[in-house]
Amino acid sequence: MAGWISQFRRGLLELCVLNHLNVQEDHGYQIVQRLKQMDGLDVRESTVYPILARLKTEGFVAVHNEPSPGGPPRKVFRLSTSGKARLRSLNAYWDLLAEAVNKLRSDGPEF
């Protein structure tokens, strides 16, 4: 059960990161803080930073530097064109899954 939840959460987290970046471009620390506020996601640095790095490697997010008060520049992430296309297809798949699971649940008895 724990392994299944961990795999499911990992995939879900990528969807959440992309959806967050669709609302606003942001830097890594703020993305971690925003997602940490969401119950059930169990967000850690070790989950978000590898996802951001992979999304950048795959070209789904672009990065630019922003001046930071009292420190070196911060990297700001934003969705690329291919990232937006990926988000559209992931959201559509999520809607499909959620609808299918909800339908199955509604057909069963109440717990």
Binding site: G28, Y29, R44, S46, L52, A53, R74
Partner: protein
């Protein structure tokens, strides 16, 4: 050693340990993660209102962060062992290829040097023989 150097050493040691745990990733991806973590640590210290030279605050921040093994687990879980293995094999193949090119270049260089030495020796002996045949005592060798 002053405080700020101690602080920097602690941060660097943590990042180096995470970097080693991520040695199965491509360099760019690994660097991106480590850059993110470095900024994350700085932001956490700033949130605590800590001056950069406060060792205790750095210790608190680092102990609240994930272990290097957690990063390895997160970055290997979604990838097949074959992908990691083939990347390692690909890297080994590249090293062998470059090593082969280096050996071939070295062999060519050595061959050229030996051929030149043999040619020079042969030319010298031919010239010496011609000189002896000519019966002229003032034959000058190069």
């Amino acid at each position: 050693m002053n405080n700020s150097r101690k602080v920097q050493r602690r941060i660097d040691r943590y990042l180096a340990n995470v970097g080693r745990a991520l040695d199965h990733l491509e360099l760019d991806e690994r660097r991106e993660i480590l850059d993110g973590l470095r900024t994350h640590i700085r932001e956490e210290l700033a949130q605590q209102g800590s001056t950069p030279s406060n060792v205790d605050d750095v210790r608190t921040v680092l102990s609240s962060m994930d272990s290097p093994q957690a990063y390895r687990a997160e970055t290997t879980a979604g990838r097949s062992p074959q992908a990691t293995q083939s990347r390692t094999l690909g890297r080994l193949g590249l090293y062998f290829f470059l090593g082969g090119i280096g050996l071939a270049a070295l062999s060519l260089l050595l061959g050229a040097l030996v051929a030149e030495a043999l040619f020079r020796r042969r030319t010298d002996s031919q010239r010496r023989a011609r000189c002896m045949r000519s019966w002229s005592g003032n034959c000058r060798m190069a």
